[in-house]
Amino acid sequence: MSELLIKNAVVCDPINNVNCEKMDISVKDGKIVESVSSGAKVIDAGGKLTMAGGVDGHTHCAGKINVGRFMSPHDMRMTNVPGLSGKEAPTATTRAQVGYNTPNAFAIGYRYAKLGYTTIGEAAIPIIGARHTHEEFEAIPILDKFGLTLFGSNWQVMEYIRDDEPEKLAAYVAWGLKASRGYGIKIVNPGGGEAWGWGKNVSGLDDPVPNFDVTPAQIIMGLAEANEKLNLPHSIHLHCNNLGKPGNYETTIASMKLLENLKSNRDRQVLHVTHVQFNAYGGTSWRDFESAAPQVSDYINSTDHMTFDLGQAIFGPAMTMTADGPVEYANSRMLNAKWSNMDVELEDASGVVPITYSPKNFVNAVQWAIGLELALLVDDPWKVMFTTDSPNGGSFVNYPEAYTYLMSAKRRAEVIEGFPEMALGRMNIPGIDREIDLYELAIMTRAMQSKIYCMDTKGHLGVGADADIAIYDLKPDSVDTTVEYAAVKKAFSGAAYTIKSGEVVVKDGEIAMTPEGRTYWVNAKMPQATVDAMQVDVAKKFKKYYSVSQSNYMVEDEYLPHPVEITTEAV
């Protein structure tokens, strides 16, 4: 296959301790290699910033996003971010694009690629909906995909935890990952999805789930132990209880503390807490609502067992979508907005509600600040994944804008100027002068993902890595990112080159070609006797409760034309 030589690249590659140094990168057969022959095609990066392709480890790109599409036909007309939103006619290389928060599948692939991203992770796959998720994955061009499977309100999971059957639980999780072709364990408001089936919610870690006699704390611990028993490449991925409620930071910290003593055989965290912006709220009501990012950050700084992502809020229209059914009900009542609600049989709940974050609204202004405070107050960038929980906090096409908030105190001060006086007293961002540099940005947007998902061919540019490369029209030698934020935003909004598996997919901010991406999934092996025993229980569930039979439930090989199977052996 082809060879490629990228010359004069100024490389920020934190995994390999390369801090924006000028070097050449050799690519052969879609991988980074030591050297290439003289016949290799040459790209002269001309001193431009070069990073591994970005990895968005938590986005809503397939599955539930469809409900958002149904609910917001007008979204296709939104042009909030020029060049990365709205309607675009098909071209010789690209298919028609529409939308902003809920773009069509093609647009998701093209636009992430334009931002220099090459891998994305769908944050929530219900097993019963997984076939559809994979059909959508296949429709998203260019990018490699993986998805996290929902287990946090699953009947079989809760029964095995209640009955103290850790072996069967692990076997069930392995089976669920295979049934959904998922990559890891997602837990959303543990127990809350089931409680919502009864019009209720769980109020905290020790509030038993109706009819199951287990607590959210037990669900988190049980699944985390199963996760480590199965040696999965990612830790549990936790959306904490009480999301979106003032004062919820105590639940968040308590959830983090639960897993302090859990050990993993793999070189990674044992807990990833997601979109913490929505879970770092102080106060007792919306009247005295304030940022609790300092308390949460202090805790995260004191421990090494966990990582988190931001869920940064972006001003303007967004679309909240989550398996956290009761939260979406609360949102719809509070915002007087349209509401979709779904019961996912034995597995979870689900809801979708549109929202608009306004800088004039003091709550929204404080939410904006909390995300940034978390990123800036946590000392170690290897613990911080940059996300907007797209499109919950805002569409991913706003990432370049959000980078400028992290990189420039001056830019933050500009935004804060528009805030109501009351908001300023409830946040800490005006007193924070830390400014993320390009190296730290590379950690938060690609390098740390390589570690937290144990994807050793992603997120870096060392020999053996996938040749997923982003070259941005920014010269690290001469640009002052703390001041020239307009240039930073422009450069990250349309990569000079995005290279996926060694092929130039974006050139000068435009799509050059659209190869198919791959789908990563984890096949975790458990002893056959345990699997057989678990299967007896699962078969009963299908017989008694499910609306589909097991044979129509599993994601079959046909759904993954481009699979990457990762096998693990249970300990």
């Binding site: 609910m71 917001s72 036909p73 007008h74 979204d75 007309r77 007087n336």
Partner: protein
């Protein structure tokens, strides 16, 4: 003053999307220039000159340009879309989305207007000397606001969802309105001189006056005394309470 007269050569069965027919595009242009402007005819683009006979008298600015449309344009959509000034006179029934998104000027339709006349209108005036259809002054699917400003007058009847998601402006219907006028509206005023059914559901703000009979009034409105308008006393209702609405509904 410039007058542009378009006469449809032959009635079309496949719809024409004529969002380019407005005074803004025609002002100070010659017959040939206007005839060369493109419209969509089914899935292909044709020139205005291919489907209309074009006559131009004078040359002037947008404000002083009048477009007169003759012939049966009941399958020509989006006439006057996004016009900002000037005048359009349509001597026929007209197809959907006439005057959508207009910001100024005046459209007179001497015939019936199909659905979505004046949808998402922001200013100017539309007079329908005939009947309207569904979604008069309504919004695009999913948008929070339909009509935001300007005035629509319909001398005949209209069908369902009059002023759907309306956020401003004024609509007057001299005849009857169908189901659910003013649904989810958030501002503006609607006057229905005839009868209607289930008005103002999910209304958040604005005023709706019904001079005829209002059938099946929703239970989610709170009666709040009476109000006199132009010497007539109406029962006053506030709501829609279900949507925390502060709208005013006046019925006899």
């Amino acid at each position: 003053m410039q007058t542009v007269t378009l006469s449809l050569k032959e009635k079309n069965a496949i719809p024409i999307e004529a969002d380019t027919i407005n005074p803004d595009n025609f002002a100070s242009k010659s017959k040939d220039e206007i005839g060369a402007i493109l419209v969509w005819y089914g899935n292909a683009q044709v020139t205005i000159g291919e489907v209309f006979d074009v006559a131009v008298d004078g040359s002037d600015s947008t404000e002083n340009t009048k477009v007169v449309i003759n012939g049966d344009v009941s399958r020509v959509k989006r006439i006057g879309q996004e016009m900002s000034a000037g005048e359009i006179e349509i001597n026929s029934n007209v197809d959907m989305h006439c005057g959508s998104n207009m910001t100024g000027g005046k459209i007179t339709i001497n015939g019936d207007a199909d659905s979505w006349v004046g949808c998402e209108m922001k200013g100017g005036e539309i007079v329908v000397n005939g009947n309207g259809s569904y979604y008069v002054g309504g919004g695009y699917r999913g948008e929070a606001c339909g009509m935001k400003g300007g005035k629509i007058t319909v001398t005949g009847n209209v069908r369902d969802y009059l002023g759907e998601h309306m956020c401003g402006g004024e609509i007057v219907v001299k005849g009857d309105a169908g189901l659910l006028p003013g649904i989810s509206n958030n501002g503006g005023s609607i006057v229905i001189e005839g009868n209607t059914t289930m008005p103002a559901s999910e209304m958040k703000a604005g005023t709706i006056i019904i001079k005829g009979e209002a059938a099946e009034l929703l239970p989610s409105f709170a009666e709040d005394g009476t109000e006199d308008v132009d010497g007539v006393t109406y029962r006053k209702f506030a709501g829609d309470v279900n949507a925390n609405g502060k709208g005013v509904l006046l019925v006899k």
